[in-house]
């Protein structure tokens, strides 16, 4: 296990699969058949993975595999890295900005869409992102926001006649 984060993610996957298996038990025979046939082995797979990558077990396996690892390191490859595969991106690339900032921006965009609808939220958030996070020029930020607004309005609303969600606030003000 390389990090606590990986352990937590593995446990999350195990938790989700276990929840599906647990809920299946309450269904009729036909309805639970495949979820159980699939879910129980899935739980075993992820459990085996989690146990085998626990620090104690992993280090014991590491001792066994150290000879192979040394050969791979000598060849200039990362341990376990496949031929032709780009090296571990997460490990090797420089982190410009922590991932959580992007999580926040996605959250902001989704909340803005729920509140203000697509036609207002998307161009506004695109502009704000480009101007304040990417430090793009005013011209690029405004043109991009206007471009995406034009695509939405003329492409989706006018041409494809897609009903774009108007947002809770507009619905409250103007009614459906």
């Amino acid at each position: 296990m390389k990090s606590k984060g990986e352990l937590v993610f593995g446990l999350l996957v195990l938790g989700i699969i276990s929840l599906f298996v647990f809920l299946s038990l309450g269904y009729s025979r036909t309805a639970r058949f495949l979820p159980l046939v699939v879910g129980i082995p899935g739980m075993i797979f992820i459990l085996v993975h989690l146990i085998s990558s626990l620090p104690g077990v992993a280090s014991r396996r590491g001792e066994l595999g150290s000879e192979k690892d040394a050969t791979e390191k000598k060849a200039g490859k990362g341990v376990g890295q496949k031929e032709g595969e780009p090296a571990d991106v997460e490990a090797e690339t420089e982190v410009v900005s922590p991932a959580w900032t992007m999580f926040v921006w996605i959250g902001v965009l989704v909340v803005a869409i729920v509140l203000f609808g697509f036609l207002v939220a998307v161009p506004a958030v695109v502009f704000a992102f480009l101007k304040f996070r990417s430090k793009a020029s005013w011209r690029y930020a405004i043109l991009s926001a206007a471009g995406i607004a034009a695509v939405m309005y003329f492409g989706f609303v006018q041409l494809l006649e897609v009903f774009l969600y108007r947002g809770l606030i507009l619905i409250l003000i103007a009614g459906r």
Binding site: V13, W105, V125, A136, V162
Partner: protein, 489 residues
């Protein structure tokens, strides 16, 4: 003679103009995640009311021949399959883009798409009169076993992280069971949420899992999608085109596979795409290199999903049984034009039928030519700094995700899968098995339950099912045989 008459029917300025318009529109619909072929059909069919049949189908069928290549463009460039039928194309297409070889991947995709479509159309032309007994051999047991073939791909795409891949595949299969059971009719895993009654839609999942996760990753690491400088010449594109001829036998096999899967009602293009990818992995000398940017990983799925169109038209035209959602809508277009699909089509409208074959051939070729011409400019997109591209990809992804069904919940689901997909990417869980599981899970369940109800476990003893079982066993034993050979060597 009828084949020639079909071509003459199509070669008039009005029909050709509609065909070109259709190709252009379907390319855009294909490339835009969320706006797939069926959406384009639904929008364009009302426009065909006043057209003559040849022009109407030139717009619809000819145009549709380009949709798969359109879908591969976004799969290759931004790791977001434009349609559910381009899922496997992203597995190796995007790694090629990251290596600065987007042009090569697009060149290969365009060529494989065109040739795959032509092979599919050829089979449509040659086999329509003799296909009836063959199609009738495929019932739920056979569709179930063909889908199991697709599921074996999970192992193939999980190389290097086998247990994680199997866990992801399991999760995908379990997610496919959300909603009303196809046979049991019981509501499962919905937590009382109305939105989940219809199950988890593929589009929000793939958009979140691939596009959003990629945007998060790119904004974390900075730089551009392509980590290497893209050559200023068209060498890469030409290399991609020639790769198709280098791997011509794989392309031919994948096309035949796609056509056969297309013929089976209910199997669908996603299976063709995934099964062909799995076939490429299992027959390649270096299967471990798949997923890291092998050009065969683009050629095989793209040839198959385009070839599938010709095959899918067979049950639609010959028996009036649509093989997919798109074909169901197209069936409506036949009726609008006063054409009754069924055996009568083979006798009374044979020339028109052959004009459909030509439409597929010309439409796919036109789409690929447009794609090849535009490929050079498209690849430059991957050199734009991610800080400038990220909000635009984000906006387009959420918009596409919403517009596929017009549900706000799809936007929320996309965000959830985006965060989960980033976790999978970061901790090296292969994402492809999750998608394969979701795509194939409900088909497996529906056909297994139907087979059990119809025949009990004896369904495995049906002749075609037994042949498929032997083939499955052979495919499963390939890695073992390879290992043994490796030891001997």
């Amino acid at each position: 003679m009828a084949l020639f008459e079909g071509l003459v029917m199509l070669l008039n300025p009005v029909s050709m103009m509609y065909l070109m318009l259709g190709v252009f529109l379907f390319l855009i619909f294909g490339a835009m995640p969320g706006l797939s072929g069926p959406v384009a059909y639904a929008i364009l069919i009302p426009l065909t009311y006043t057209m003559d049949p040849v022009s109407a189908f030139a717009l619809l069928v000819g145009g549709h021949a380009a949709v798969m290549f359109g879908g591969s463009i976004s799969a290759i460039l931004i790791n977001t399959p434009g349609t559910g039928q381009n899922v496997a194309t992203a597995f190796d297409g995007y790694p090629l883009t990251q290596q600065g070889r987007a042009g090569e991947a697009l060149g290969a995709s365009a060529t494989a798409s065109a040739i795959g479509a032509i092979i599919g159309a050829f089979f449509l032309a040659v086999m329509i009169p003799v296909l009836r007994p063959i199609v009738l051999l495929f019932g739920p047991p056979e569709v179930f076993l063909v889908t199991i073939f697709g599921l074996t791909t999970i192992a193939a795409v999980s190389k290097g992280a086998f247990l994680k891949g199997l866990a992801a595949g399991t999760l995908g299969l379990l997610l496919s069971f959300v909603g009303f059971g196809h046979v049991s009719g019981q509501e499962r895993f919905t937590f009382g949420i109305l939105y989940l009654w219809e199950g988890i839609d593929l589009i929000p999942m793939i958009v979140g899992l691939f596009a959003l996760a990629e945007v998060i990753h790119l904004s974390r690491t900075g730089g551009a999608i392509s980590r290497k400088e893209i050559p200023r010449t068209a060498t890469g594109i030409i290399k991609g085109v020639t790769a198709c001829f280098k791997y011509w036998f794989l392309m031919l096999r994948s096309s035949v596979l796609g056509t056969i899967i297309g013929i089976i009602p209910g199997a669908g293009g996603a299976i063709a795409n995934v099964v062909a990818y799995g076939h490429a992995v299992s027959t390649c000398k270096n299967p471990d290199e798949f997923g890291t940017g092998r050009i065969e990983g683009v050629i095989a799925p793209e040839a198959a999903n385009d070839a599938k169109d010709g095959g899918a038209l067979v049950p639609t035209i010959a028996f009036g049984v649509p093989g997919s959602e798109g074909m169901a809508i197209l069936l409506g277009a036949f009726l609008i034009q006063g054409l009754q699909p069924g055996p009568e089509m083979l006798t009374k409208h044979l020339s028109f039928l052959f004009s459909l074959v030509w439409m597929i051939c010309i439409g796919a070729t036109m789409g690929s030519i447009i794609g090849l011409v535009a490929a050079r400019r498209l690849t430059l997109l991957t050199m734009v700094p991610s800080s400038l591209l990220a909000p635009l990809i984000l906006a387009v992804a959420l918009l596409g995700s919403y517009s596929s069904r017009g549900l706000l919940e799809d936007v929320l689901l996309t965000a959830v899968f985006g965060f989960f997909g980033y976790g999978m990417r970061k901790y090296r869980y292969p994402r492809a098995p999750l998608v394969i599981g979701l795509v194939l899970g409900h088909i497996v369940e529906k056909n297994l339950q139907l087979s059990l109800q119809l025949y009990g476990w004896r369904f495995l003893l049906r002749p075609v099912a037994m042949v498929l079982l032997v083939m499955l066993a052979a495919v499963a034993s390939i890695p073992l045989v390879r290992k043994l050979r490796g030891r001997e060597a």
